[in-house]
Symmetry: C2
Subunit: 207 residues, 2 copies
DNA sequence: TTGTTTTTTAATCATTTGTTTAAAATGTTT
DNA sequence: AAACATTTTAAACAAATGATTAAAAAACAA
């Protein structure tokens, strides 16, 4: 019943399971994924899943934690740093997130979908709330344009950056576009969005 | 085995089931929803679900079709109309969608999540693609600023409008915000987004 | 009322699905 | 090689779940 302590082959199957599970969970979500799907995708015997990870839920939790860190991990260090300008932060945010999302296009929909199922649990575990309030990002925003609520700006910035990946199947179909062309557009947005966000910041809002 | 033809009470239970199913499906997704959940939420006997709607899948398909029409239905008439200006279209889009999403906050995540599972089927059924290409919206966009690809603009517009609802649980937690305050911010965006999109349109993109 | 159709119920079925078990296979140590 | 530990496999289990059935209850028509 003991966990494997041998290094090569043991880790290899464990990693095969985790890699397959990551792919299937991301594509179908937790509930629609059967342990047999994962076993087949990994090319391993069904019982090995429970041998290495005690249950489907535990396997999922581990993967979800990694995904949450990938998704929320970049935002903190960028926004907290008082050494960089607001413009730097915006550019850095868009650039880093676009790169990461090109590599993991299904990440936002997966993370946000599963957050919906267990709202309090996942959002707490990221501890992003205090991080945001204390950030120099918010300070610099208020300094530049006190009229805009920081959350409005954040919604727009994240929305412009992340939404194209959430709606990719829809938007690709609308414009009859293949994967490469879509990726190219995302690269373009690394350049466009910071300039747009700047224009947005300079706008005097009329009622 | 026949379908009910009597009007009042028959429709009443049928509607109870559909209403309950709509709520539970939207909250948990198709796979995580059990027919027993729906029966309990509707306060009816389990077998009635199969009596009125032949299967869980058929019940879901009917509801999904309605949701897709709600989600995609407004965009067509607004964008096609050659009588209105570009500014009118943007204002109208933001206003109509914000109102609709305030009433159905869970709609985008639900629709986009299920599209992920059956990509080609749902996107085709909306027939939004030809609608977009022929629209006077695209024409007016190219006229105003030929440098911006219409899809870039559309991504930004939809992203700014819809994303705050997709990420609501996350964003509410970040800013420690209650439902009413959040709704108020969405109302504010009906005013802000058109002005921001205008600023975005006037921006000369530098490489 | 009586007969007929429609709706509702409780029980059951057949599959699916997460998990466990016991034994076989493989690897490691002495 | 022998003894022991780890990994893998095939089979089975138990619970959950979508669906069906047959009978009861209710609504309706004559």
């Amino acid at each position: 019943m003991g966990k494997a302590s041998g290094p090569e082959k043991a880790l290899s199957t464990e990693q095969k399971i985790k890699a397959a599970a990551t792919e299937v969970f991301a594509r179908k979500g937790f509930a629609a994924t059967r342990t047999r799907d994962i076993a087949e995708a990994a090319g391993i015997n069904l019982a090995l899943l429970n041998y290495y990870f005690r249950s489907k839920q535990k396997l999922f939790d581990g993967i979800m934690l990694e995904k949450l860190q990938t998704f929320f991990g970049k935002i903190g260090p960028i926004f907290i740093n008082p050494e960089t300008t607001l413009e730097n932060k915006i550019e850095s945010f868009v650039s880093h997130y676009t790169d990461m999302l090109i590599k993991n296009p299904e990440l936002p929909l997966f993370v946000l979908s599963e957050i919906r199922t267990h709202p309090q649990h996942f959002v707490q575990s990221t501890q992003i709330s205090p991080l945001f309030n204390k950030s120099s990002f918010v300070e610099q925003l208020r300094d530049k344009n006190p009229e805009i609520h920081p959350l409005h700006f954040l919604m727009s910035l994240i929305g412009m950056t992340v939404f194209p990946f959430i709606a990719m199947p829809m938007l690709k179909s609308i414009a009859s576009m293949d994967d490469d062309t879509y990726t190219m557009m995302m690269e373009e947005r690394k350049n466009h969005i910071p300039q747009w966000m700047n224009a947005l910041l300079e706008t005097k809002i009329k009622t």
